[in-house]
């Protein structure tokens, strides 16, 4: 999600993990780099570039691999998941992609009842928010326990982005908590996401 105003400079240099890139006094560490003993080293094999976000600050050194970056869900990352099962207390789901990176294998996630929406938490009911099969945009709250990641949809932009009705047609959101089937005009309750343009890429 790099803003376009950033000043990015390509160094036209390819580096490999462990390669010395520069001094900590000259640069920040960006993605794909790490610091050790006052110096910055590459942690990925890829192209080196430096990015200045604020003029006064030091430029951040970044190593980019041309292909998509390897990711696993981390705290605060935005994930797309598919609901697997619901209970009265929580909803289980499989994480399909992190940010814009599709995962080859899913990770288990869990949205607890109290994390479904930000307001009126006590009135939330899981079955009125999600149904198995829904595609949901959520944010990782914490790494959770051995079983699953803890996710939240307590933001306007987060929630169900794709749900199919019993007729098998994708439903159309009619309000922030309701979706309608265009074929049968059946109405169903959901915690609908207010889809943001820059999130669309992630969900697709």
């Amino acid at each position: 999600m790099a803003a376009h105003s950033d000043h990015v400079k390509h160094h036209n240099r390819i580096c490999v993990p462990g390669e010395h890139l520069g001094l900590e006094s000259e640069y920040h560490t960006g993605p794909g780099t790490y610091r050790r003993n006052g110096s910055i080293y590459a942690s990925l094999a890829g192209h080196l570039c430096s990015r200045t976000e604020v003029e006064t600050e030091l430029p951040a050194l970044t190593v980019l691999q041309q292909e998509i970056q390897i990711t696993v869900p981390r705290q605060k990352s935005l994930v797309t998941c598919k609901v697997v099962s619901i209970t009265s207390k929580f909803c289980r789901c499989d994480i399909l992609s992190v940010e814009s990176v599709p995962l080859t294998e899913t990770f288990r996630g869990m949205i607890r009842k109290e994390d479904i929406r930000a307001t009126e938490k006590d009135k939330v009911e899981v079955y009125k928010s999600f149904r198995p099969g829904d595609i949901v945009l959520a944010r990782v709250l914490s790494l959770g326990d051995a079983q699953s990641y803890l996710l939240t949809t307590a933001e306007n932009e987060l929630g169900v982005v794709l749900a199919k009705s019993e007729a098998g047609v994708p439903m159309v959101p009619t309000s922030w908590c309701e979706m309608t089937c265009p074929k049968t005009h059946d109405k169903q309750l959901r915690k609908v996401a207010k889809v943001q343009p820059h999130y669309i890429a992630y969900a697709s």
């Binding site: 490999v16 993990p17 942690s43 691999q65 041309q66 390897i70």
Partner: protein, 281 residues
């Protein structure tokens, strides 16, 4: 050894003719008269190596490595979720599997993973662990599969180098690369990068020390992540052998570097030179 009942087994009592051939011969010297080895190299000469990152298209990362007749292929999958039974682990984990192809050595290997293979897998895993940023892949595991297609000595060191390139190729963050090398010491003679023959060759006098030393080295951190010594050496010789191996690792580094560089370039424009052979300096 347990047998796999699902496959057709050879006759129970069959033996490779190789065993009988060997028995007929007397002890062969490690060095020929003019100070050359059986394959014509001088003792301190290493075999040219060929590396190709991205040899397995389905895998996240992969590498093929060839040192004359030692051929190793490695594929990396993941990171993926740690199986439920293993409990909560905050850091990432490496899981390594090492397998000789059944036809890799002169004596046929079994289908099932043997103890030796499990041990080699553990060595590779422990060699790579210090180099991979495991905290960047919390709650996840990375699978590394290594297959030896042909075994002509120095397999462990080849597997370490190959696996580290495959992990780097998979785009998993690493503190450093890991490069392996090995040597064989018979008496006073050091044989760098030994072939399978060099590894088993005996010196004439039985009193001589005979040892194989394998090292995994992190070239940027200047640390040793794997060190195996098989056979007897004096303490000082053991360290000398380690140092010698490290020097060889540094010689390999340039080749590994070029290989990874090419693999990155290829991602940008796939029509560049398809083969990247780089003989060791």
């Amino acid at each position: 050894m347990p047998t796999d009942t699902k496959r057709i087994q050879g006759p129970d009592a069959s033996q490779s003719t190789f065993l009988y051939k060997k028995r007929a011969n007397t002890v062969q010297p490690a060095l020929l008269e003019e100070g050359k080895r059986q394959d014509g190299r001088s003792p301190l000469e290493i075999r040219p190596i060929f590396l190709k990152a991205g040899a397995v298209s389905q895998a996240k990362g992969s590498c093929y490595m060839e040192m004359k007749n030692t051929k190793v292929i490695c594929a990396v999958y993941g990171p993926r979720e740690v199986p439920r039974r293993d409990g909560f682990v905050i850091n990432g984990q490496l899981r390594c599997e090492f397998k000789f192809a059944t036809f890799a050595s002169e004596v046929r290997h079994g289908h099932l993973t043997s103890h030796t293979e499990k041990d080699l897998a553990l060595q590779v895993q422990q060699a790579l662990e210090p180099a991979v940023c495991l905290h960047k892949i919390p709650k996840s595991q990375v699978d590394i599969f290594i297959t030896v297609l042909e075994n002509d000595g120095s397999v462990l060191s080849a597997a370490i180098t190959c696996a580290s390139i495959a992990v780097a190729n998979a785009g998993i963050e690493m503190y450093d690369l890991v490069i392996g090398s090995s040597l064989r010491q018979t008496g006073e003679t050091l044989l760098l990068d030994p072939t399978a023959f060099d590894e088993t060759a005996e010196s004439e006098s039985t009193d001589d020390t005979q040892a194989i030393v394998t090292v995994g080295f992190l070239p940027s951190l200047k640390q040793v992540s794997c060190s195996v010594q098989q056979g007897q050496l004096q303490c000082e010789d053991s360290i000398k052998a380690l140092q010698q191996c490290i020097d060889v690792c540094e010689r390999y580094y340039q080749v590994v570097y070029e290989c990874l560089k090419k693999s990155v370039k290829k991602l940008k424009s796939p029509v560049e030179s398809p083969m990247d052979e780089a003989p060791a300096s």
